[in-house]
């Protein structure tokens, strides 16, 4: 793309699209070119994510009723107790999930589902739309930010929406700022806050801040469930999961498929997960497989949100690998071992790049994508964001 045109896109993305981390170290994190996928491939992947979402939903329902399975997921004990407890589950305001697909020697595979706090809406929506304008010969995938904010707005009606994130994390602030901006465009009253600023009265959430005090119709919890459970009990964090009457997104059950140890309980479920089994590499408890000496395995934490704990011996410094081994040995229930797949890089104007296409579902329906490119097979916070566009199959 013409340098001036891309510069304009970058400027609009950072100033209007809440893309506030366009540079990580020496890496510019916005790709100057789109990733183009055949429309037929997209159609197939979109179908698969809807299957994945449906299967996960059924599995989460069953696991929620079976406390003995919750213990396998690496959840903090306080959270596990609440999930296994009595009383009505807090109602859901909707559920957005992102399934991360990688192009491998065995075709498209998923590495994980981001069920609890998936990000990437600004990149998958605003930035992608700007790039699409430059490539009229290609089609856009659905706009995830638009679809998710539509769903939230519908859930809130005319009520206030509180979007919660952890202080100090710009990556998270920009996600909820982007969603808040889209919600305001739809006429919603959206506020950024942190979980401690929600008070619960008779199960109803109220925002208690210097700029707004009053009831909340919908809470968007961009705050990992396992963190919430480590807040003081006086914060009323349990109501985000159980006993609340205010609608919360994502729902409490999302933490189940968010856990990278979710596959460890599949064989004990009555529901089948054929799509998951077909797309997710073999996943085992680290005590069962020779991950320490076999490079065919990687290990990662049960709640590995940004890819930072994905650990592969051959890709690590000896000291980091030593710490990983120690941690897995000390806390094996908080780690998982997964068969590595062989990611196939695609040729780009910047050279070969590994591809991760994170495809969203919103309330079970495919809803666009957040695409990242990396020089290494591991996709982490330093990966480059790319727009995903579609080409008709005869092009």
């Amino acid at each position: 793309m013409d340098a001036a045109a891309f510069s304009e896109i970058r400027r609009r993305a950072v100033l209007e699209g809440c893309k506030w981390d366009p540079q990580v170290g020496d890496v510019s994190t916005l790709a100057r070119f789109p990733l183009v996928m055949k429309a037929s491939v997209w159609k197939r992947l979109a179908f698969q994510v809807e299957q994945l979402a449906s299967e996960a939903n059924l599995a989460e329902e069953e696991i929620s009723r079976r406390p003995e399975l919750l213990t396998e997921l690496g959840l903090p004990s306080a959270l596990r107790r609440v999930l296994a407890g009595e009383g009505p589950v807090t109602p859901s305001a909707g559920h957005v999930v992102r399934f991360d697909f990688h192009f491998t020697t065995d075709g498209w595979k998923i590495s994980e589902a981001n069920s609890d706090v998936p990000g990437g809406f600004a990149e998958g929506s605003y930035f992608t739309a700007l790039m699409a304008e430059q490539f009229p010969q290609f089609r856009s995938v659905p706009n995830p930010g638009e679809i998710w904010s539509e769903a939230l707005a519908a859930a809130a009606g005319s009520g206030v929406i509180a979007l919660l994130s952890a202080p100090g994390y710009m990556e998270d602030h920009q996600v909820i700022s982007f969603l808040a901006a889209r919600l305001r465009e739809k006429g919603c009253n959206a506020h950024l806050a942190k979980p401690e600023q929600i008070s619960w009265r008779d199960g109803l959430a109220h925002l208690e801040t210097a700029w707004y005090r009053g009831p909340v119709a919908v809470i968007v919890k961009f705050y990992q469930a396992e963190w919430l459970s480590r807040l003081p009990e006086t914060c009323g964090w349990k109501y985000f999961f159980r006993g609340g009457k205010t609608r919360v997104a994502n729902p409490a059950s999302a933490i189940i498929s968010e856990s990278k140890r979710f596959p460890l309980v599949w064989d004990r479920l009555t529901v089948g997960l054929p799509t998951w089994r077909a797309l997710l590499p073999e996943t085992r408890d680290p005590r069962e497989v020779p991950w320490q000496r076999d490079d065919g395995w990687l290990v990662k934490t049960a709640f590995c949100n940004t890819g930072d704990t994905v650990s592969v011996r051959s890709a690590m410094k000896p000291r980091d690998w030593w710490w990983t081994r120690l941690s897995v040995q000390l806390n094996p229930r908080q780690w998982v071992a997964q068969r590595r797949f062989e990611s196939v890089p695609v040729q780009t104007p910047d050279g070969p790049r590994h591809v991760c296409v994170g495809i969203y579902t919103v309330n079970g329906r495919a809803a666009g994508a957040y695409t990242r490119l990396s020089t290494t097979p591991i996709i982490d916070y330093a990966a480059v964001d790319a727009a995903l566009l579609l080409a008709d199959d005869d092009e």
Binding site: R12, G119, P167, M170, A302
Partner: protein, 260 residues
């Protein structure tokens, strides 16, 4: 000027430092924001390094003082590069009264927003060469140090990461071999910034420091290795202090960002 034009002045096309300029404050430069008058910073520039192309500055100064000193250095040939990274407000409600706006956020960055806006025209008129050496601007108040966090405030405290800066390699390729840290009221670098300085030091850059509140000239110093320096999850580890530590697996003494 609108915010696009303002950002273009602070992060001009073609400058080797523009990619690092943080956009968040510029994104909030709505026309309805009120300019907040700031006291002038009385800094004696005689003791500052000259813009010889081999020296980069890191101004870790409270509030809008970083912009003021940055502008003074711009007149000496440095290019100020804003690295402010805090969301100013929790809503886009128009701020009609500075007296109301200020207490809303834990770290009041509105004076910085105002200073950046006010100084834009003057910076543009300086016509700095694109390759002018950088003066990175940070808010020394970013972590809300010494601030008692009241429950209703918008918690916009922030930290800086090594990845917020160019690498030592990049600085070397631009001819920079020396970095001077400028602070007020403190000599040691803040804990988050120490990581970046240490990496630069390890990358064979000379690190010096000076204070604006005392008659001081740059002095070379050794950046000691910060706690957990060099660990895989340094980005996450750096942020401790903003959040209580959590248990969990390796790398989870403090949470990593939620965004998956």
């Amino acid at each position: 000027m609108n915010k696009e034009e303002i950002f273009s002045v602070w992060a001009p096309e073609g400058s080797p430092w523009s990619n690092w300029a943080k956009p968040v404050l510029f994104a909030h430069m709505d026309a309805a924001f009120i300019d907040v008058p700031q006291p002038e910073s009385a800094v004696d520039l005689n003791s500052f390094p000259v813009a010889d192309g081999k020296t980069a500055m890191v101004l870790d100064l409270p509030g809008a003082e970083g912009v003021q000193v940055g502008m003074a250095l711009a007149q000496q040939g440095f290019r100020p590069v804003p690295l402010y990274n805090a969301v100013p407000l929790p809503t886009v409600m128009r701020i009609l009264d500075a007296g109301v706006a200020q207490p809303v956020a834990a770290v009041d960055v509105m004076p910085i927003v105002s200073a950046l806006r006010t100084e834009t025209e003057r910076l543009a008129q300086l016509n700095l060469p694109l390759n002018a050496p950088p003066a990175f601007l940070l808010d020394a108040n970013r972590q809300g140090e010494g601030y008692s966090m009241t429950p209703g405030r918008f918690d916009n405290r922030s930290v800086c990461f090594t990845t917020d800066f160019p690498s030592a390699n990049y600085l070397h390729t631009q001819g920079v071999g020396r970095v001077v840290l400028v602070q007020r009221y403190r000599t040691e670098p803040m804990r988050d910034l120490a990581h970046a300085l240490r990496r630069w030091q390890d990358g064979s850059l000379v690190i010096e420091r000076m204070r604006v509140d005392a008659l001081s000239t740059p002095e070379r110093f050794e950046v000691s290795k910060p706690w957990w320096f060099g660990m895989m999850f340094q980005r996450a580890l750096l942020a401790f202090g903003l959040r209580r530590a959590s248990g969990g697996g390796f790398g989870a003494w403090v949470p990593t960002p939620s965004s998956g």
